[in-house]
Symmetry: C2
Subunit: 354 residues, 2 copies
Amino acid sequence: MILNERKIKILEAIINDYIATAEPIGSRTIAKKYNLGISSATIRNEMSDLEELGFIIQPHTSSGRVPSDMGYRLYVDRLLRFRELTKQETDFLRNTVAENINHIEYLMRKTAKALALLTNYTTVVSEPKCQEIKIKHVQVIPFDETSVITVIVTDNKVVKNNVIKVNHAPEPDILNQISNIVNQTLKEYSFSEISSKEAYSQFLSSPYGKLIDDVFISVLKTAYDERNMRVYTSGVNNILDFPEFSDIEKAKSVFKALEEKDMLISILECDKEKTEEKKSGLGNIKILIGNENSMEQLKDCSIIKTDYKYGKNSYGSIGIIGPTRMNYAQVIPVLNSIVNNINDVIKALSDEGT
Amino acid sequence: MILNERKIKILEAIINDYIATAEPIGSRTIAKKYNLGISSATIRNEMSDLEELGFIIQPHTSSGRVPSDMGYRLYVDRLLRFRELTKQETDFLRNTVAENINHIEYLMRKTAKALALLTNYTTVVSEPKCQEIKIKHVQVIPFDETSVITVIVTDNKVVKNNVIKVNHAPEPDILNQISNIVNQTLKEYSFSEISSKEAYSQFLSSPYGKLIDDVFISVLKTAYDERNMRVYTSGVNNILDFPEFSDIEKAKSVFKALEEKDMLISILECDKEKTEEKKSGLGNIKILIGNENSMEQLKDCSIIKTDYKYGKNSYGSIGIIGPTRMNYAQVIPVLNSIVNNINDVIKALSDEGT
DNA sequence: GTTAGCACTCGATTATGACGAGTGCTAATA
DNA sequence: TATTAGCACTCGTCATAATCGAGTGCTAAC
C-alpha cells in the first residue's frame, strides 16, 4: 500500500483538525471542511488504509480517527509549515532576553514564563552547565564571628555560595589572602590534584589550614554537585486546560512527574540519541512525540526542546511540554526565536569582551 | 438560644467526622458513631439550632450538615486538642533543619518539602526579610574582561549577586580596594545618604568612579528590591487529592493562585491584623479559615502560618494551605515543631557567636 | 476508481425509577 | 418539659433503558 499524495493530504487534514479541536475526525467532516474534491466514501477508504499503515487510530468502532504518534512524526518531519511570529511576539521575546541576560536566575525564570505565556503549554528551563566545569573565581568573605561565606563563580556566571563554620573568623585581609591562595591554586592545578589535597598541602599547616581545606572542599562540592542544578518551570497549570487531561487522574500523574526535579532534568536530557535534528535551519531543536520519550507518565505528551549557550562551553536546556496534539507549527518558531536571541546576545557579549 | 455543652459536643463530632470523611453528616450517624447518650431525634433538634446559630450548613434540604467557617473557628479556638507528634516525625523535622540551617535556600526548600510530606497539604516558605535591611558585606569580584560581579551579603546570610558591565575590568587588587570603600561607606552612612550619592561623592571623580557608583546602585537595588524575595512551594499537587477540589475548575483556580508569586507573598503576609494569636504556648501561629483570608480563589481553603527567625531582626514565613476541612490538630504541632527547631538552632548559633 | 446508499456500531445524552440517607413535624413518653 | 419514636417527605445518587447521531464498512451502481 502506497502513501500517495492524497493520503497525505487527508492525514494532514486530520492532524490539523485534531490539533485544533481535540475531537476525533470523521470522513464527512473532512469532505465538508477541506474541499479535496473527493467524496466522504473515498476518504473513508483512504482513512481505512491510513489506519492500517499506523498513522491514525480509531478509539472505538464507529468513531472518527485520531492521529497516532507515528502520524504526528510524519507530520512533524514532512508536513510542518511553521507559523510566522508576529512583531509583538518577537519583540516580547527579544526584550525578555535583553532585560535578563546578565542574571542567569532571572533569565531562566523569565524565559520559562515568557514561553508559557506565548504557547500556553508547560515550560522547563535548566541552568547552564559546563561539560567540564571551570571555577572562575572564589572569594571568601566575612560573615560573623564564627562563620565565613565562600562565593564561587563558575565559568558561566553562575554564582553559588556556602557558609563555613570556623572557631574564630579571621580578619577581612586574611580572607583576601586565603581567596588569593585558592584562586591561584585553582589556576595551576587540576581538580584531581586538589581533591587529593596535594595541590595545597603546603598551606595545611598554616594557622588557617583548616579553613583553607574547608574552602577547597566547598569548591569541589560545588563543582561536582549536579544536584545543585536549578530548574525552573512555568505554566504547569496549563495542562488542566487540555481536554486530554480533564480526567483528574491523568492530570495528577503528569503533575507528579513535573514536580520531581530529577524528572525535569531527565526530560531535558533524556533520549539524546533517539531524537533527530530538525531540518530547515531550525538549529538543533529536538522533538519527542508521545512514547518516543521513555517516561511512562508523559506518554501522552510531546516534548520540544533545545539547548542554549550561556558562557564558554556551557549549555542549558529549554523544553516545552504539551499534549501530543500540541501546536508544533507555533511552538517551534517561538522556541527557536528565544534561543537564537539568547545565543546571539551571549555571542555579542563575548565578542565584545575580546 | 444558648450554645450549651451538648451542642458543642455535637458540633465537635460533626467537625471531626467531616475532617475525616469530607461527607455531610446526619443525625443518625452521630447517634451511632459517637455515643452521646441521646437519640438521633434530639440530635436533629440540636443540629437545627446549630444551623440557625451559623455553625453548620445544610448543602441542600434533606442532606447532612457540614461545618461553616464559623464552626471551624469555634473548633480551632476552643475545642482543638493537638495530636502528639511521633518520634519519627520530630526526628525528621529536626534533621531537616539541622542539615540545612546554614544554607537558606536549601533550608526553605527542604522545609517546604518536609512539611508537605508530613501533612499532605501545600506548603509555602518565604525568604527571611529584615524590617530594616542591613548589608553585612559587599564584595566586588572579577568576572571577565568587561564585567564584574557584586556579591551582597545581608544581615541574614542571604547572598545576592549582580553583574555589572564595565569598559575594562580592573585588576582584583583594585576590586578589593573598591570593596573596602563600599563596605566602609556602608558602615558610616545611612541608605538615604548613599542614595543621594552624598556619602561617596568624593570617590566619583576617581578613575573608578563610575564603577563605584554602579556598585552602590546595585547595593541599594538589592536592599530595596522586594521582588527579589524568593518563595518556595511544595505539595501543590496534594490539592488534587481532596474531594472538594475534584471539580477541575475549582482546582484550577487554586492552582492559578498558587502559581503567582505575588499571591503567595500575600498569603503569607495578608491580614496580619485580622488574625489572632493561638493560645496554649503555640507561639504565634496564625490561622485563617476560608473567607477569613481575602483571596477569592482561596475561599475554600484554610491557611496556617507563622514566622521564623533567621538572623537578627530578620523573619521569614511558613504557611500551610489546605481545604478548610484540614486537619488542624495535626498540622499545627508539625508547623510549630519545625519553627521551634529553626528558631532554636539559630538562637544557639548566635549565642555561640557572641 | 469513485460514489451513493444503507445497515450497523457505539459513545453520549436524556429520561426514568428505585434507593437511601437525611430531614422536620407530631404525638407519645418519661 | 425535655426526649424520643414514628412517619411522610425531600433530594441527590445510581443504575437502567431509550434515543440520538456521528461515524463506519460494505455493496452495488456509475
